[in-house]
Symmetry: C2
Subunit: 186 residues, 2 copies
DNA sequence: GTCTATAGGAAGATAGAC
DNA sequence: GTCTATCTTCCTATAGAC
């Protein structure tokens, strides 16, 4: 190892993810992103020729992959509904670091990004998540319409508990949500 | 009316509010704020010598006053719990323009503002709102602990339904929330 | 693949005329 | 009280050495 910084691709995206989540898209300046990753601005541009926009895009795609693999796939998989919900809540705690980390979808849906390039991907992620949750609720015996409503409400509760937790400076709302998660959906 | 722009104080703050809600604190540049208000940047500085920070602060204080007067006071006031909830939901529809406008608390709690000057005020507003809702739930017969949980969950649902509505590009989640509001709290 | 250095422009903020 | 013009700083992005 020479004196120049180096960083693996996965770790790089992870650090950028945390920065975007906590600073927002406009708040995440290249100077701050460089500081967060340990690289210089020019090095970031070497890996992301498209600049900040590309960084956020890859961060979002990375989150999408993680969610599909660790959240949606187990949700769709075998096992009784309660067990699948339990598996998801365990992963949610991980994904949001117990309520300490905001949701990337909420952060990137703010500001001018709405008309921008993230809108379609964000919409798709919400839809996929809600559809997977609704399927579980149907498996548990709810009719289609009720299941859909429960699923949408569940995602809203998740997002809202993170907002309230951040705004109030306490993790309790997110913990309470995780605790009540099975009852909320089924 | 001469050729120079002019604007009443209330209308000025209203336009700034809309701008901050839709652009975020960092996304709301002075150029955009000038465009939103019809004033030049220098004119904004004449009314807000503290710059953008002061604008956001006054916007937040204005929202606080509105909420205290139109949401919390009726919530604490006389009448049976169901009627008070109904009065609030009517005002919520107005406050968030049927789900079209994000919550200022969510927007301003993002980014670097958390450690910043808005944190205390945001926290206080969430606390006051939750306390008022919990009091209604207690009036409706719930015990203190259950009422508190319901109130917190109610605010989370409100915030989350706005997030999901924005992210999915449809007002339905917020509408569904308003519809289910009484049942959620009581 | 990372760095230093810098270009070019937009950001927040101010000066001073009217 | 609003304007035009300008200052300084910061931001995004690039050039080019190693």
């Amino acid at each position: 190892m020479g004196r120049t910084a180096t960083i693996e691709d996965g770790e790089l995206v992870a650090r950028l993810t945390e920065a975007f989540r906590n600073l927002g898209y406009e708040g995440a300046t290249l100077a701050l992103l460089a500081e967060a990753t340990g690289l210089q601005k020019a090095s970031l541009y070497h890996r992301f020729p498209g600049g900040k926009d590309q960084m956020a895009r890859e961060v979002l795609e990375s989150a999408q992959s993680w969610i599909e693999e660790h959240i949606l796939r187990p949700l769709k998989g075998p096992g009784d509904p309660a067990a699948r919900i339990a598996a998801m809540t365990h992963r949610l705690e991980e994904l949001y670091d117990g309520g300490r980390q905001p949701c990337l979808l909420n952060v990137l849906a703010s500001g001018r990004n709405l008309e921008g390039p993230f809108a379609a991907e964000i919409k798709g992620m919400f839809q996929a998540w809600i559809a997977a949750l609704a399927a579980v609720a149907v498996d548990a015996g709810l009719d289609k319409k009720a299941a859909r409503l429960r699923a949408e409400r569940f995602v809203a509760l998740l997002e809202g508990s993170l907002v309230v937790a951040r705004g109030m400076g306490t993790l309790q709302p997110f913990r309470d949500f995780l605790k009540s998660a099975p009852a909320e959906l089924l």
